[in-house]
C-alpha cells in the first residue's frame, strides 16, 4: 500500500495532529472556523481516497442538511420565526445553529475517516506498546483473530451445508437461529482449544519473565520534531488569539475573525500541503529525466 507523506511520519505526529484538529473541530462553533474545518478535512480525505471518497463526503453533506432541518424542531428559541409547526415556532436562528452543528458533525466524521486511513492498528500499537504493553498485546491478538475466526466461520458454514445442514436465506427464522447457534458453539470450541496452544507457547517462550521489548519501524526524525513544533505553535496561536466564539440562539452573534483564523487554516492544511508538495516534486522529477 502506498502511503502519503503525512502517513509516513512518526505515529506520534499523526496522533497529535488528529487529536488537535478533532478537538478544535468539535469545540469551535464559529461558522468561519467550522466551514474551514469541513473544507480542510474534505480536501485531505479526497487526496487520501481519491474519487471513492466522494460518496462518503456526499452522505455527510446529506446528514448536514438533515440536522439543519431537524434542529429547529427541537430547539425553538430565536427571534426570526419562519413559520409555526404544530404550534411551535420554527426559527431562522435555530436553523443556522443546526447548519453549524451539521458542519461540525460532518467535519468530525471526515477527520475520523482520515484518522482510520492514516493511523492504522500497527501504528496505534507501536505508539502505545510501551505505555500499555498488556493491553496493546491484547489488541494485536484480537486484530489477528477476527479475520481468522471469520474465515473459520465461513469454513464451518460450508462444511455444514455439505452435509445438508446449511441454513440459508430460504430457511425459516427459527432454523437460521438454530444453525447460527451451532456454528458459534463449534467455533468457540475450536477457538478455545487453539488458545491453549497459543498460551502454552507464549509461556514456553518466556512471556511475562522480563519486560517486553518491542520492535517497530518508526523512528522519530528531525522532520517529525519540526512538525510537532509546527502543530503545537499553530494550536497555541489559535488558542491565544481567540475570536472563536459564536452563539446562535436566541440571537446570532459571533466574534470578529482574528489572526487565529489563518493559523487555524494553516493547521488544517498541513497534511494536504505535504501531500501536494510530494506530488509536485515527483512530477518534476518525472519530467526531468
Amino acid at each position: 500500500m502506498s502511503q502519503d507523506s503525512f502517513s509516513r511520519c512518526h505515529p506520534a505526529v499523526n496522533f497529535l495532529y488528529f487529536v488537535t484538529v478533532i478537538g478544535f473541530g468539535v469545540v469551535i462553533q464559529h461558522p468561519a472556523y467550522a466551514i474551514a474545518g469541513f473544507l480542510g478535512a474534505s480536501l485531505y480525505y479526497l487526496l487520501l481516497k481519491g474519487r471513492q471518497g466522494l460518496s462518503f463526503i456526499g452522505s455527510m453533506a446529506g446528514m448536514l442538511v438533515l440536522i439543519t432541518l431537524l434542529n429547529p424542531l427541537i430547539n425553538t428559541s430565536g427571534e426570526h420565526i419562519l413559520f409555526r409547526l404544530f404550534g411551535r415556532p420554527y426559527t431562522l436562528e435555530a436553523m443556522a445553529y443546526g447548519a453549524a452543528l451539521g458542519v461540525i458533525f460532518a467535519l468530525t466524521m471526515i477527520w475520523f475517516g482520515c484518522y482510520s486511513e492514516v493511523l492504522t492498528s500497527d501504528k496505534f500499537t507501536a505508539l502505545f506498546g510501551n505505555l500499555i504493553p498488556a493491553l496493546s498485546l491484547l489488541l494485536v491478538m484480537v486484530l489477528r483473530l477476527i479475520p481468522s475466526f471469520t474465515r473459520k466461520t465461513k469454513q464451518i458454514i460450508v462444511a455444514r451445508s455439505a452435509i445438508g445442514k446449511g441454513a440459508d436465506a430460504t430457511e425459516s427464522r427459527k432454523d437460521q437461529i438454530k444453525s447460527g447457534i451451532s456454528i458459534v458453539s463449534a467455533l468457540t470450541d475450536w477457538a478455545l482449544e487453539g488458545s491453549i496452544v497459543t498460551a502454552d507457547s507464549m509461556r514456553a517462550r518466556g512471556y511475562g519473565c522480563a519486560k517486553r521489548t518491542n520492535f517497530h519501524i518508526y523512528c522519530f526524525r528531525k522532520s517529525d520534531a519540526f512538525l510537532v513544533g509546527l502543530i503545537a505553535l499553530l494550536a497555541a496561536l489559535v488558542l491565544a488569539l481567540g475570536g472563536t466564539e459564536a452563539g446562535f440562539t436566541p440571537y446570532f452573534y459571533c466574534d470578529y475573525v482574528t489572526l487565529g483564523f489563518p493559523a487555524y487554516c494553516a493547521l488544517l492544511l498541513v497534511p494536504s500541503i505535504m501531500y501536494l508538495r510530494e506530488a509536485i516534486v515527483w512530477n518534476n522529477l518525472k519530467f526531468e529525466t
Partner: protein
C-alpha cells in the same frame, strides 16, 4: 496501597471532577469533548488495574479469543437482519469469567472491530457501553450457576440493552447533535433510539437465551480441563 488502586481513586475523585469543571468552562461547544473525556477517564482504572496485574498468558489469550469471537459471531448470523450476537457473547464472557473480564472483552472488541469498520466519534462510547454490558452481566450472574436460567438471562439481556447499553450508545448522538442540552431535548433523541434498541435488545435476549447454556458449558469445561482463568501457580 497498590499503585493501581491509588490511580483509580485519583482518577475518580480528582481527574473526573476537574474535567467536568474545566470542560464546562470551555468557550464553545463543550458537551461532546467533556463527556467523551469523562467516559475515557471512567475506563482508565479498569485498564490500569489490568496492566498492573501483569496478566498471564492464559488470561490474555482467553480474553483475546472472547473479544474476537464476539466480533466474528456476526458472520454466523449474517442471514438474520439486526441480529447481533456481539453483546450477548460479551455478556456471556462476563458471566463465565467475572465482571472485570467482561468489561475488558467488551471494550477491546468494540475498539478492535472499529479498525475493520471505521473509528468515529462513537468509539469511546461504544467501548464503554459494551464494556459495561460485560461488567454488569458479570456482576449479576458471575458465580451464581443457579441464576443462569435461559428465560431469566433472556429478560436480563433484553432489559439491559433497552435501558442501559442502548441509551449509553445514544448519549453520543445527544452530545454531538443537540444544540441545547436540556432533559426534554435529550429525551427526544433517546426516544428516537428506542426502536433500534428494541431490536438490538431482542436479538441479544434471544441469543443469550439459546447460546448461554452451550457456551457456558464449553467455557466451564475448558476452565476445568486446562485450569484457564484461574490463578496460575507461580510463574511456571
Amino acid at each position: 496501597m497498590k499503585k493501581s488502586t491509588l490511580f483509580s481513586i485519583l482518577t475518580i475523585f480528582l481527574l473526573i471532577p476537574a474535567t467536568l469543571y474545566f470542560g464546562s468552562h470551555i468557550k464553545g461547544r463543550w458537551y461532546y469533548l467533556t463527556s467523551t473525556l469523562v467516559i475515557i477517564e471512567i475506563m482508565l482504572p479498569f485498564f490500569a488495574s489490568f496492566e498492573s496485574r501483569k496478566p498471564q498468558s492464559r488470561e490474555l489469550v482467553t480474553l483475546a479469543v472472547m473479544a474476537a469471537l464476539a466480533t466474528a459471531s456476526r458472520v454466523a448470523f449474517a442471514f438474520i437482519p439486526y441480529f447481533k450476537a456481539i453483546t450477548a457473547v460479551i455478556m456471556i464472557t462476563g458471566i463465565a469469567f467475572g465482571p472485570q473480564a467482561g468489561f475488558l472483552t467488551g471494550a477491546i472488541s468494540a475498539f478492535a472491530s472499529n479498525f475493520f469498520f471505521s473509528q468515529g466519534p462513537w468509539t469511546p462510547w461504544q467501548m464503554f457501553a459494551y464494556g459495561f454490558a460485560g461488567f454488569w452481566a458479570g456482576l449479576v450472574f458471575y458465580g451464581r450457576q443457579k441464576w443462569c436460567r435461559p428465560w431469566l438471562l433472556g429478560v436480563f439481556g433484553f432489559l439491559s440493552i433497552l435501558l442501559i447499553v442502548g441509551p449509553l450508545l445514544d448519549c453520543c448522538t445527544v452530545f454531538t447533535v443537540l444544540s441545547k442540552l436540556t432533559w426534554a431535548n435529550a429525551l427526544v433523541i433517546f426516544g428516537r433510539g428506542v426502536p433500534v434498541n428494541l431490536i438490538h435488545g431482542l436479538g441479544c435476549g434471544v441469543t443469550l437465551m439459546v447460546l448461554t447454556k452451550p457456551l457456558l458449558y464449553k467455557l466451564n469445561r475448558i476452565q476445568k480441563k486446562y485450569g484457564m482463568m484461574q490463578k496460575e501457580e507461580g510463574n511456571l
